[in-house]
Every structure is written in structure tokens, then in C-alpha cells.
Amino acid sequence: MKRHNRLGRREALDGLLFISPWIIGFTCFGLGPYLFSIFLSLNRWDMMRPMVFEGFGNYRTMLAQDPLFWKSLWNTLVYTLLAVPAGLAVALALAVLLNQQVRGVWVFRTIFYLPAVVSGIAVLLLWKWIFNPDLGLLNALLRAMGMADPPGWLSSPFWAKPALAIMSLWGVGGAMLIFLAGLQGIPASLYEAATIDGANRVQRFLYVTLPMLSPVMFFNLVMGFIASFQVFMQAYIMTMGGPQDATMFYVLHLFFQAFRYFRMGYACALAWVLFLIILAVTLINFRVSKHWVYYEN
């Protein structure tokens, strides 16, 4: 008994040693910075002169005196509502199409996944060129199809956000693969049973596929929202927030406050509000999910 106990303690110690990298990392690069960020958000600090304690001054400034806070929040919300639902729909449609048992299907899976892997600056520059109002591919096609006056895309305050959302559809490969994995996990017996009961193709999709896929859908939705709220690189490379602040997204605003104007405290306050928004949206997502996500067991 005693020996057993000692072995158990030995194993517990080993366990903690094994996960110690994460514990150290979480403390130094997670929890620590989070707490430090709260402190910074209560100060005014440009990294040169000493900090000045301001209490909730930064938060008051944000709500009352920073029109770009509201504008960037609105932009981010609009972009998210354009990009996330459309992205989920496209990813699901592609996954259903690629779930057919036909020869060579892996070639197509590879093609649709490719843009998700080779993302990065090169691809953003490519899309900036595609969206070029006068010489870009998209408007060349639209003109060829007879549209006399195609949109200005990234140079139009109205079309800039939809343009970025369209671009994001090109990168749905990751979500598509996760859907595909989910589809392949649905037991064939369920479809057979539904067919015997006289369900047609549409009914099988609505009453078998969708409920069985709802946990995956939920995962993609939550992760999609979280990622989309932090949209940054697209705007930094393609528009710099323009035209007329139409693509001044929340994290871009935060980044400029920190690294262009060196308002570190204010940027931290912005970050904390973003954190609370994302937390709230995620919690709401979890709450609502009880009504539509179907779990076995």
C-alpha cells in the first residue's frame, strides 16, 4: 500500500514535470501579460516618460471621445457578419460536394485547401491586384460580362468590407476539411435507416446530416467569430484602414494606437474591451448552442 502510494506520488511529479513547459508558458506569456495588461490599461504611458495613473480614464476616453472606437467596432461587426456566415455556408457546401465517393476526389480536396495554406502577404497583394478597379481581374471579368460600371471594391467605402469578405471565402479550406471530417464520422446506418423510412435527399440532409454535423458547425462558428473579430493583416496590407476609415477594424485601430501613436495604456484598454466582447459573444454562442447543437449521449 505504502509502495503504491509512493509510486502514485512519483507519477504525479512526473506529470507536472511533463506539463511544466505549458505551465511556465501560460504564466509568462498568458496569465502574466493579461494581468499586466489590466494594470497598463489604467495608466497613460508612451514608453518614454513615466506612467501616469488614470484609473478608468482610458475607458472613459474610449466610450466618450474616440469616434474611431465606435467606427472600428462597427466595421468589425459588419465584416464578421458578412464573412463568417458566408464562409460557413461555402465551407459546408464544398465539404458536402467533396464527400462524394468518386475517383480522384482527393485532387479537388487539395485544390480547395491550397489557398488556406499559402495565405500570407503574397496572397493579400494578389487580391489587392484582383480588386484593382481599372486593371484587376474581377472587374475585367465583370466588364466582359457586360457590366458597364463595376464596383470600386477596395477604393469604395461601401464595397471595401464586402470585398474583404469575398476574399475570405477563398480561404475556407480549413473549415471545409473540419466539416469533411465531421461528415465522414456520420454512420452510414443512419442514412440507410432514413432511406428505408422514405426520406429523400433533401430530408436526409436536413434531418440526418445537419443535426449530426451541428457540433462541428458550432466549433467552426465559435472559432470563426473569434478570428474574424481580430481581422488585422488584410486591412494593414491592402487598405491601411481606408477608404474613409471603412476598413479601420478594431485590432488595426488598437495597433495604430500602440505602435504609431505609442498610447500603450489606451491600446491595452482597447484590448480588454475586445476581450470582453469576444468573451460575451462566445458565451452567448455556447448558451444558444443548447438549442441547436445535437450531441450524442
Binding site: I19, L40, W127, W129, W170
Partner: protein
């Protein structure tokens, strides 16, 4: 499946593939156009003489070999760090019993949802205080402390391996670390490959990290160099040069992708990244 249905599915796949690949084609076409033909009447036409010179010229505009060297170093160190640390943690969470383990693992999963925007500034302040701005340390070091998603991947994998192997090693007197290092990690090769590829993609494409931490051009990564090339050339809009540079920077990612795609795509789909 009936023949007609299969035909429709194929047709759809082919049409959509063309749509998905068209941007790449446009990129390649533009990169090969002589400068005076960017403003062409018929943009889809192949130019009479392909301007391969664009590739040579653009490489002389900026020290891309330096960018590639820096990026290779960052990518290599990050992969090393993340594979070692995440597999250790994953094994700990999968196999060793200690109090509070499952709650801690939930915390690991929860941190996947934390927005990095919050830690950006305090971490920057911290590294600046250490005097590490304009070095690779802030970009590489965090990879040596386990990434939540990869810990999750390794844990899931280790849980599928039968315990007999470890029991045998234990009877032979192996310590927990020896068991992990000699038996379990070699078995986890599929997970190691997956993590390696994901880390490559992440680090190779990362922009915000290098943008914040690397000031001098001699330290720049490919992503940073390409972005600054665009900035420098912006008002002249020599899109053929910019696209040529973009093609060059896509090559390593494409090589990695095609070397591993069968494995990666099918691996994710069949082994099931079970959510």
C-alpha cells in the same frame, strides 16, 4: 451513385476548381507581363514575349536571400520548440495521473480562445524591457512552451496507443521520460509531421510578430520584406514586379504543401480532428 449524379458532381468540382485556381493563374500571368503591357486592353491575353526578367529584376530590388535565411531560421527553431514542448505536455496530459489534470487540460483548451491582441502589448513591453526588440528571441521563445492546439493534438494521439508498450518499458525499469523519448515520441510521427506543417504555415505567414519586433532590414522575414516592397513601389504600381516577388515567396509554401498534401488533407479528414 448514379452515373448522371456523378457527372454533375464532377462538373461542379471542376468549375469550382477553376474559380479557386484562377487567382493563382492571374498572379502568374501578371508576373510575366512586360511593364508596358500591364495596362493592356485585353488583360487575359498572354504577352507575346514572357518577361522572365521581372523575376531577376525584383530580386535585385530587395535582399530576398537575407529574408529567406532569416525566415528559415525562425521557422526551424519554432518547429523544434513547438514539437518538443507540445509533445511533452501532450504526453503528460494523456498518460500521467496527477491531481487537477483534467481541469488544467480544460484550461489549456480555453486558452485557445483567448485573443492574442490582449497579450500583444504587455508581451512587447516585457521583451522590450529585456532588451530583446530587434532580435529573434521574442518570436521564437514562446514556441518552446507548448501551444494549446498542438498539446491537444498530441494528447489525442497518445491516448490511442495501447498501454502495454509503456508497461513493458516500466517493467524494464525505464523512467517516464525514457518511455516517452524512446517509445512514445517515435510512435507519434504522424502527429509530429502534422504539427511541423501547421507551424511552418503559421510562422512562414506570420506578419504581425515580425512587424512589431524586427526593425532593421537585415533581420526581416520574407513576409515583412514583401510588404515593404509593396510600400516602396506603391505609387508606381508595377504590379508585374510585385506579383513576381509574390510568386517567389509562395514557392516554399507550395513545396511544403505539395510534399505533404496527401498526408495532410487525408490525415485531417480520416484520422478525424475530432472536435
Amino acid at each position: 451513385m448514379r452515373r448522371a449524379e456523378r457527372g454533375i458532381a464532377y462538373a461542379l468540382m471542376v468549375v469550382l476548381s477553376v474559380v479557386f485556381l484562377a487567382p493563382f493563374g492571374w498572379m502568374l500571368l501578371t508576373s510575366l507581363k512586360p511593364s508596358d503591357q500591364i495596362v493592356a486592353r485585353s488583360p487575359f491575353k498572354l504577352p507575346e514575349t514572357l518577361a522572365w526578367r521581372n523575376y531577376v529584376d525584383v530580386m535585385q530590388q530587395a535582399p530576398f536571400h537575407v529574408y529567406f535565411k532569416n525566415t528559415a531560421m525562425l521557422v526551424g527553431l519554432s518547429i523544434l520548440g513547438t514539437v518538443l514542448s507540445s509533445s511533452l505536455c501532450g504526453y503528460g496530459f494523456a498518460r500521467l495521473r496527477f491531481p487537477g489534470r483534467d481541469r488544467l487540460f480544460l484550461l489549456v483548451l480555453a486558452t485557445m480562445m483567448l485573443p492574442p491582441a490582449v497579450t500583444l502589448i504587455p508581451t512587447f513591453v516585457m521583451f522590450r524591457f529585456m532588451g530583446w526588440v530587434n532580435t529573434f528571441k521574442p518570436l521564437v521563445l514562446p514556441f518552446f512552451f507548448g501551444s494549446p492546439f498542438f498539446i491537444f493534438l498530441f494528447r489525442q494521439f497518445f491516448r490511442t496507443i495501447p498501454r502495454d508498450l509503456e508497461d513493458a518499458a516500466k517493467i524494464d525499469g525505464a523512467t517516464a521520460f525514457e518511455t516517452f523519448w524512446r517509445i512514445m515520441l517515435p510512435l507519434a510521427k504522424p502527429s509530429v509531421i502534422t504539427v511541423t506543417i501547421f507551424t511552418f504555415v503559421m510562422v512562414y505567414n506570420d506578419f504581425m510578430g515580425p512587424l512589431v519586433y524586427l526593425n532593421s532590414e537585415s533581420k526581416w522575414t520574407v513576409a515583412l520584406g514583401l510588404a515593404s516592397l509593396q510600400g516602396a513601389l506603391m505609387y508606381k504600381t508595377p504590379w508585374n514586379f510585385i506579383m513576381a516577388a509574390s510568386v517567389i515567396t509562395l514557392i516554399p509554401a507550395l513545396v511544403v504543401f505539395f510534399a505533404s498534401q496527401r498526408y495532410l488533407v487525408e490525415g485531417i479528414v480520416t484520422s478525424g480532428m475530432k472536435v
